[in-house]
């Protein structure tokens, strides 16, 4: 029987791997997800058949509660709220690993097992509270700005020291209980401390990193309870999070260390040296320009999500296409609050995915674009990143909307972006500002077309 269970775990790991492989293309991705879910079902059934299990009531109890919550959340969540939902789920995964590590502890455990138990608790704890803070920031239940205070590094160093000390004492087998609780407490505190200094605009990096941690925590729990499938699945997720973290950091031209420790965007606004004047445009004039355009590029940002403007954007796209205009979308990797955030929103509004171009694909076409429409994006189209060496975002790859013949910037007001950086794009000769709520402005354009 035992060998059959182990074999089932092997098959389940293979299904996870194949499922992830299918996720490599939008055409097969949905099937890939189902295959991965099948792998999970198999692993759960195999675990339930384990002869060590004599008591099913606890398991059923846990599963019914968790399944109901998860199912309801998955059905009800708004697509704009995906980042906070993913953060929340990350946190639950982390806490589950912490509990598994804790439950796996028995005074007779060997040193290797103790080390893995500590790792599982530590990573799980940091993931849990870190994700909760990220959730709070993303859903704006707490201030999304960076929290910095004097002596922060010292406090963090002391916490790390405390964690290392209690981990060593625990693994050396002296007593267990006290040191175990100390590690649990400190790792929970540490999770809060590592996420509070990170500002809202850096959330794509944080959420990817926490995603990776939740996998690594599962992996450590796998070592603690001696289970292969946990190790395989956990490290796949861990690797996935790290790959995404790297992509996000590269798209911001910053190192991971810089994102984690610098408290970027914490209110230090540089002296504005931008010359030129802002040229507003009315909805009516904007319509005449769009009506005559043959090639339009739309560049969305977090502001589109906030204004829930994705559906009107789709409507405008259709009208433009009926008018014979070619419309493409340019998606910057860090647009929005999580990797791929804009793509999901536009997919929800029925924009076909082959119309969504990555930054490197849209940039070479920009010179042939008649009108580039920037909707609620700011830093990802800021030419200062290309031109001004003194700019804090200098070197960050951007979507070169200013190379288009005309640029429309849809913006609520003249306030600067999340990073608090002045945007010279607004002052360029070919830029026209369409002030107001993005949804209303686009709604106005649609009315003009009709």
């Amino acid at each position: 029987m035992d060998i059959l269970i182990q074999f089932a775990y092997v098959v389940s790991a293979a299904l996870f791997i194949y499922g992830l492989k299918q996720l490599g293309s939008p055409a097969t991705a949905r099937r890939g997800n189902s295959i991965s879910a099948l792998g999970m079902l198999l692993a759960v059934v195999a675990a339930l058949l384990d002869q060590g299990i004599v008591d099913f009531q606890w398991i059923v109890f846990g599963f019914v509660i968790g399944g109901a919550i998860g199912g309801a959340a998955a059905r009800m969540v708004q697509m704009t709220a995906m980042p906070e939902m993913v953060a929340l789920f990350n946190g639950f995964g982390g806490l589950a690993s912490l509990l598994v590590g804790w439950a796996a502890f028995s005074p007779s455990s060997e040193t290797f097992t103790l080390v893995t138990i500590i790792l599982s608790i530590l990573i799980g704890g940091v993931t849990f509270t870190g994700s909760m803070v990220a959730y709070g920031k993303l859903s704006e239940k707490i201030d999304s700005g960076a929290v910095l205070f004097n002596g922060q590094q010292v406090v963090n160093s002391l916490i790390v020291l405390g964690i290392v000390l209690s981990a060593v004492m625990f693994c050396a087998g002296s007593g267990g209980g006290f040191w175990l609780f100390l590690v649990i407490t400190l790792s929970l505190v540490f999770g809060v401390m590592v996420v509070i200094p990170i500002g809202g605009a850096d959330m794509p990096v944080v959420i990817s990193l926490l995603n990776s941690y939740s996998g690594l925590a599962a992996c450590a729990a796998g070592f603690a309870v001696d289970n292969n499938v946990l190790i395989v699945a956990g490290s796949l997720v861990g690797a996935s999070g790290i790959v995404l973290t790297q992509i996000m950091c590269k798209a911001m031209n910053r190192s991971l260390g810089n994102v984690l420790f610098s408290g970027f965007g914490s209110g230090k606004v540089e002296e504005s040296t931008v010359e030129g004047e802002i040229k507003p445009i009315t909805v009516e004039d904007a319509y005449y320009v769009l009506e005559a355009a043959s090639n339009v590029a739309i560049v969305p940002g977090y502001g589109m999500a906030v204004a829930q403007a994705q559906h009107v954007v789709k409507e405008l796209t259709e009208l433009l296409e009926q008018n014979g205009t070619e419309v493409n979308f340019g998606i910057h990797p860090v647009a929005g609050r999580m990797p791929g955030h804009m793509n999901v929103l536009l997919a929800e509004a029925d924009v076909p995915y082959d119309q969504l171009l990555e930054m490197d694909d849209i940039n070479p076409r920009m010179e042939n674009v008649d009108v580039a429409i920037v909707i609620g994006a700011n830093d990802v189209v800021n030419p200062a990143a290309r031109e001004s060496e003194s700019s804090p975002i200098y070197g960050m790859p951007i979507i070169n909307v200013d190379y288009a013949r005309t640029v429309f910037v849809l913006k609520r007001s003249m306030a600067s972006g999340f990073a608090g950086i002045e945007n010279p794009l607004f002052y360029k000769d070919n830029t026209r500002m369409l002030f107001g709520d993005a949804k209303d402005s686009i709604g106005g354009l649609i009315r003009e077309f009709n």
Binding site: V54, G62, G66, F92, S235, I242, M338, P352, D354
Partner: protein
């Protein structure tokens, strides 16, 4: 005889490399479903939790295990469902 720890570490090493290979091929447009799908997979902790919740040994492990089963099932059920919901929306341009 090679000790079990080495086997486990070997598996870890191979799956990390495999993970990097697989994930770097996922296009940017699918990154959000990838994350929520990965989230669901990280709910694999449920397997570890099941074996701890049902041992009937002592109360604490049962309680912790049951709580872990509940949390991990939120991930598993919620993660797969929401990923499916998202992926169903991705459509190719018709015609």
């Amino acid at each position: 005889m090679i000790p079990a720890e080495i086997f486990l570490t070997f598996i870890l090493m191979l799956s990390i490399f495999l993970g990097f290979e697989l994930i770097s091929k996922v296009p940017a447009t699918l990154h959000t479903p990838l994350m929520s799908g990965a989230n669901a997979i990280s709910g694999i902790t449920v397997v570890g939790a099941i074996s701890l919740a049902g041992t009937g040994q002592h109360d604490l492990a049962n309680w912790l295990g049951a709580a872990a089963v509940a949390l991990a099932s939120i991930n598993v059920v919620g993660g797969y469902l929401v990923t499916d919901r998202m992926l169903a929306m991705f459509k190719k341009k018709e015609g």
